[in-house]
């Protein structure tokens, strides 16, 4: 029942907030809702619920509305419900169009994401998966930046095309199930699909997730979308929605088509490693802060994709830890990038520089986020990255070496970006730049404290995902 509540709070408050008249009232209500959901999420973590929620839904197809959680989904749900209060807060005090509608869409996205991470059958998963896309589409389309129409359309069609493959896969699996057919994951997991079928079914299922993550070369929708997206849009996309891809891949591929995974394992790992190097190299001399962060995100996600397919204990635990760490870090980075834009009117590197002169605290917090991103020890990034590289190492020294290049390349592009934004002499045009205000502190300090806190005390997350390990190493 409590899982249903997690789903319903953002859903109902999302619908309700659309009818609000006042801007501030809508924002306050939305934040309150998101914080309540976070509190309940933490309650669920502290007192794990063994039974899920189940109700009759589409009787004739034998599809139920059933929700449950395990270690993997708990990480995802925690990340989602942790970030959304900050996502909503990021809109405070800023002039935005139609605030009640915007907050309504954000909360509906949150509801759909919670649904994705709790659904226990593939059909329900798919419904939530698509449902999440719709509010995000409007958030991007209405509240996005330059060129939003064409970029949003491309984003939408791209991800929708991927989803269609997934739908086909789900229907295919549905008709494979014995008896009166079902789309329950538990039934899918028990299917003994011939290896030949698994090798092609793998890609049918994987494409949607590969696009969402994204894995090289399915990534081209991402940098322009992140660049154009509003701060809140970018925080949702990069912080949480990329994790949908990871979650989906973990849920569908490893238990259902393990032989397909085994067959394609080296290919996906190598694609992942190519992605790490490709995105990192592009990020180095990139000319725009926001797209640079997008490429850095892609580099990190690519490493996560590689680690996922190595699928040993270290890699999977590192991956799940990195889900938390990456989500928090990238959300902080996008918020910081938005502050840069607000203070200077640009995110083009050649127009930036020397912000530290007038905004030293801004620079320090920016640097902490950068250090989290380059996985300095005692930040959350290090724990995840170290374990993933350990996982890669167990499989092959070369995987670890190429994956480990992220340590060097990450430092190269991130510190260069930091220098181009923050360091250098005072530019006359930035004479009036001010340092952070209280709202910025409220958003950034908790996120940065989490980045360091999880780096020093990572153990609670591992305790949370203990259950997950066994379900995943099936591919071996």
């Amino acid at each position: 029942m409590i899982l249903l509540i997690l789903l319903l709070i953002p859903f109902i408050s999302g619908l309700a907030v659309a009818f609000f008249k006042g801007t501030q009232a809508a924002r306050t209500f939305a934040v309150a809702s998101a914080i309540l959901n976070l509190v309940i999420t933490i309650f669920v973590l502290v007192n794990p619920v063994s039974e899920g929620y189940s109700a009759e839904w589409i009787g004739f197809m034998n599809i139920q509305f059933n929700l449950a959680t395990d270690g993997i989904s708990l990480v995802m749900i925690l990340l989602t419900n942790l970030l959304f209060p900050f996502v909503i807060l990021a809109g405070w005090g800023r002039s935005q169009r139609n605030v009640p509608m915007l907050n309504s869409l954000i909360l509906l996205t949150q509801a759909a994401l919670n649904g994705v991470f709790m659904a226990q059958n593939a059909f329900l998963f798919y419904v939530f998966w698509e449902l999440a896309l719709i509010p995000v589409y409007f958030i991007l389309l209405v509240w996005g930046g330059d060129d939003r129409k064409s970029i949003t359309l491309r984003f939408f069609i791209y991800t929708l095309a991927g989803s269609l493959f997934l739908l086909f896969g789900i229907i295919y699996l549905y008709q494979l199930t014995p008896g009166s057919h079902t789309t329950d994951f538990s039934a899918f997991n028990q299917l003994q699909i011939p290896e030949q079928t698994q090798t092609w079914l793998f890609w049918i299922l994987f494409v949607a997730f590969a696009i969402k993550m994204p894995v090289f070369p399915f990534h081209t929708w991402q940098p322009p979308t992140y660049k154009m997206a509003s701060t809140q849009g970018a925080m949702i996309l990069a912080g949480v929605m990329t994790k949908m891809g990871i979650y989906g891949a973990l849920r569908f591929l490893f238990p259902i088509v393990p032989l397909g995974v085994q067959f394609w394992q080296p290919v996906v790992i190598i694609l992942g490693l190519i992605g790490v190097i490709y995105a990192s190299v592009i990020a180095f001399k990139h000319t725009n802060l926001k797209t640079m962060i997008a490429y850095s995100s892609m580099a990190h996600i690519s490493l996560m994709a590689a680690a996922m397919f190595v699928a040993n204990e270290y890699a999977v635990k590192g991956l799940l830890f990195q889900v938390m760490s990456h989500g928090i870090t990238i959300a902080a980075l996008f918020y910081l990038a938005c502050l840069v834009k607000e203070k200077t009117g640009s995110t083009e590197f050649h127009q930036l520089g020397g912000l530290k002169n007038k905004a030293p605290i801004f620079a320090i917090l920016f640097l902490i986020a950068v250090l989290g991103s380059i996985a300095l020890p005692l930040t959350a990034g290090f724990v995840g990255e170290f374990l993933m590289i350990a996982g890669l190492f167990q499989q092959s020294f070369w995987y670890a070496l190429f994956g480990g290049l992220t340590m060097i390349l990450g430092a190269i592009y991130m510190l260069y970006a930091y220098q181009r934004v923050m360091l250098g002499g005072q530019k006359p045009v930035f004479e009036k730049v001010t340092d952070l205000n209280r709202l910025d502190y409220i958003i950034l300090i908790p996120l940065l404290v989490l980045i360091i806190g999880l780096g020093v005390f990572p153990q609670p997350v591992f305790d949370m995902i203990k259950i997950a390990g066994s379900a995943l190493t099936m591919a071996h």
Binding site: R154, I157, Y158, P217, H219, T220, W221, Y278, V281, I282, A283, F284, K285, H286, E313, Y314, K317, G354, K356, N357, L371, L376, P377, L378, V383, F386, L387, I389, A390, F393, Q394, F397, A400, L401, G404, L405, M407, I408, A411, I412, L415, Y416, Q419, M422, L423, G424, G425, Q426, V456, F457, P458, Q459, F462, G469
Partner: protein, 626 residues
């Protein structure tokens, strides 16, 4: 033993106080707080030294909490207190305290002095984690931590793009080493199922000497050490690191950071003893670095650059000692070097301070009388680094040289050659700065305040007498320092050298040193030669030396430029011309397909009927065939 927690916590506290209160702290408050906390940390370290001594044990482990524990991988956040870590702790906090106190005077009046002390404290904290960690991963926290702090402090004056570049260069070069290091740790973990020192070393005995695994582990760890301790080929960041305020150079070059690689290898002595191939690699790299950097030092005209190359060179000697299996000798040289190199840099700071920011030794001269304290202390350090008895450097360097002789007289000859070059460029520096006439008008050099000169004097005493910590048997000593370390590091025991030979070698080197010093005196004092200005064309070889053999230019052409071009190429060509259009073309393809199928929808009923019938027929044919 839980007292040990205070050692890193005090500087961390200092970092938090000075960091968070940086807007509130006035005048010298930050400096005083930061210095006091490091000093307290030193006092605690000394206390621990005596506690451990009286406890009769060789080591103690203090565990804070389980850092990462995922079943098969268990990494506690724990500290190991033994003779090696105590030695390093006392060096780091002891020298660190003096540098902090000196900085109060040196940084006085800088608008960001509070940030400066916060970062210095963080540096000390990181270095303490590094030397105190009881396993390779806690060591790695400190390892990367000092990398970060060097980045921050080298780029302290962030308005200057060249300094920012130097800072990034330091961090990235370190990271290159760190990748090797982390891979080494992983191989170590998968071999021994642990990263804790005591457990790893216990099991290491089971490995065969010279096996591939142990060779690979030690080589990978060595890559990390090359980056951190600025050895060929990863040394170019260290000379550029002088971009930071001078006390930072003292901290990086003497007490912290660069000694990390030597510490790590000494700590892993049991592993390295099993890998003779790696040891040979270390000998070659160490010796090459020692001589190469010394040669470059001959032609540098920036007071801090000369010292920077001398550090690279001295680190080469420490590596030579490590490679010879004389780990405790290497740590001994770390110690004496910490004394005299901190003194040299702080002395250089005092000179720069007095010269109003001038760093070019061609524009100095005659400072002997103006800065008497700085001169005398600088002289002590110069004698120490040149290896003149009874100054501290003599003892440590002589031990390295005699170990080299035991191994191979050729090694000895090369190492001695490097030592003679060292002696020459150091006396060149001394003479050019302090002797002769002042070559810049309009400056009125004045001695630095007490807060700066007192640390110089203390360091001068240490540089002079530090060698007596480890008196060799030849001089009737018992090698106290080395034998203290014996419980923590396992040095390879060579054959005892015959005392007559040893005496002969010492005599030989002393004669040669005297000749070199006279030669330098003759050139720079008697003939009062001043190195040519930058505009003068030098002969080819000299020019190459003055330009540091163009290694920076080489790295820029081979690594940096191609990476930048690749970055632009991948984005402008691959991403924008291949991958992105590919998606658009798929989109355009569907549009074309749509346009084609649209022609079928022409609203002609007879066409629809025709299509229907044709379809049914095809369907029947299809079924019949199958």
């Amino acid at each position: 033993m839980n007292l040990a927690l205070l050692v890193p916590l005090l500087p961390l506290l200092g970092f938090l106080i000075t960091g968070l209160g940086y807007k509130k702290l006035k005048h010298n408050q930050a400096g005083i707080i930061a210095s006091m906390l490091v000093a307290l940390s030193f006092i605690v370290s000394v206390t621990l030294f005596f506690i451990l001594k009286s406890s009769g044990k060789d080591s103690a482990t203090v565990t804070l909490f389980n850092w990462i524990n995922i079943g098969s991988l268990n990494i506690p956040f724990a500290f190991l207190i033994d003779h090696l870590s105590l030695t390093m702790m006392m060096i780091v906090t002891g020298i660190g305290t003096l540098i902090h106190i000196y900085s109060i005077g040196y940084m006085h009046g800088d608008e960001r002095v509070n940030s400066f002390f916060a970062q210095m404290n963080l540096f000390t904290f990181s270095m303490l984690l590094l030397v105190m960690g009881s396993n390779y991963l806690v060591l790695f926290i400190g390892w990367e931590g000092v990398g970060l702090c060097s980045y921050l402090l080298i780029g302290f004056w962030y308005k200057n793009p060249a300094y920012n570049y130097a800072a990034r260069k330091a961090f990235i070069m370190n990271r290159i080493g760190d990748l090797g290091f982390i891979l080494g740790i992983l191989l170590l973990f998968f071999t021994f199922k642990s990263v804790t020192f005591s457990e790893v070393f216990q099991q290491a005995g089971a490995l065969q000497t010279g096996s591939t695994t142990i060779t690979l582990i030690t080589l990978l760890l060595l890559v990390g050490a090359l980056g951190k301790s600025a050895q060929i080929p990863l040394y170019t960041w260290l000379p550029d690191a002088m971009a930071g305020p001078t006390p930072v150079s003292a901290l990086i070059h003497a007490a912290t950071m660069v000694t990390a690689g030597i510490y790590m290898i000494a700590r892993s002595s049991i592993l390295y003893n099993l890998a003779p191939v790696t040891l040979e690699v270390i000998v070659v790299i160490g010796l090459a670095t020692a001589i190469f950097a010394a040669i470059i030092g001959l032609k540098q005209n920036d007071i801090k650059k000369v010292l920077a190359y001398s550090t690279v060179s001295q680190l080469g000697y420490m590596f030579l000692a490590l490679g010879l299996g004389a780990y405790s000798t290497a740590v001994f040289h770390v110690t004496t070097h910490a004394f005299f190199k901190a003194l040299l840099f702080l002395g250089a700071g005092s000179v720069i301070h007095a010269m109003g920011g001038e760093q070019d030794i061609r524009k100095m001269g005659g400072l002997k009388s103006k800065l008497p304290v700085t001169y005398l202390t600088f002289l002590a350090a110069t004698l120490a680094i040149s290896g003149i008895p009874p100054f501290s450097g003599f003892f440590s360097k002589d031990m390295i040289l005699s170990k080299a002789f035991e191994q191979n007289p050729m090694l000895y000859a090369l190492a001695l050659g490097g030592a003679l070059i060292t002696c020459f460029y150091m006396f060149r520096l001394l003479y050019l700065v302090f002797f002769g006439e002042n070559r810049t008008a309009n400056v009125h050099p004045h001695e630095s305040p007490k807060v700066m000169t007192v640390p110089l004097m203390i360091l001068a005493v240490l540089s002079t007498l530090g060698g007596f910590l480890n008196i060799p048997a030849l001089l009737g000593g018992k090698l106290g320092f080395s034998s203290y370390l014996d419980s923590a590091v396992t040095s390879k025991s060579g054959e005892e050298m015959n005392h007559t030979t040893e005496m002969g070698l010492i005599a030989l080197s002393l004669v040669l040193l005297a000749i070199v010093i006279y030669w330098a005196y003759n050139t720079f004092v008697k003939k009062a030669e001043v190195p040519a200005g930058d505009e003068v064309q030098l002969p080819a070889f000299q020019k190459a030396v003055a330009n540091k053999f163009y290694v920076d230019e080489l790295y820029r052409a081979v690594f940096e430029k191609p990476l930048a071009s690749l970055s632009v190429f991948l984005f402008k060509k691959v991403e924008s011309l291949i991958l992105d259009p590919a998606v658009n073309n798929i989109g355009r393809g569907t549009a074309v397909l749509g346009a084609l199928t649209r022609k079928l929808q022409r609203g002609n009923i007879s066409f629809y009927l025709f299509a229907m019938v044709a379809g049914i027929l095809l369907f029947i044919v299809f079924i019949l065939i199958i």
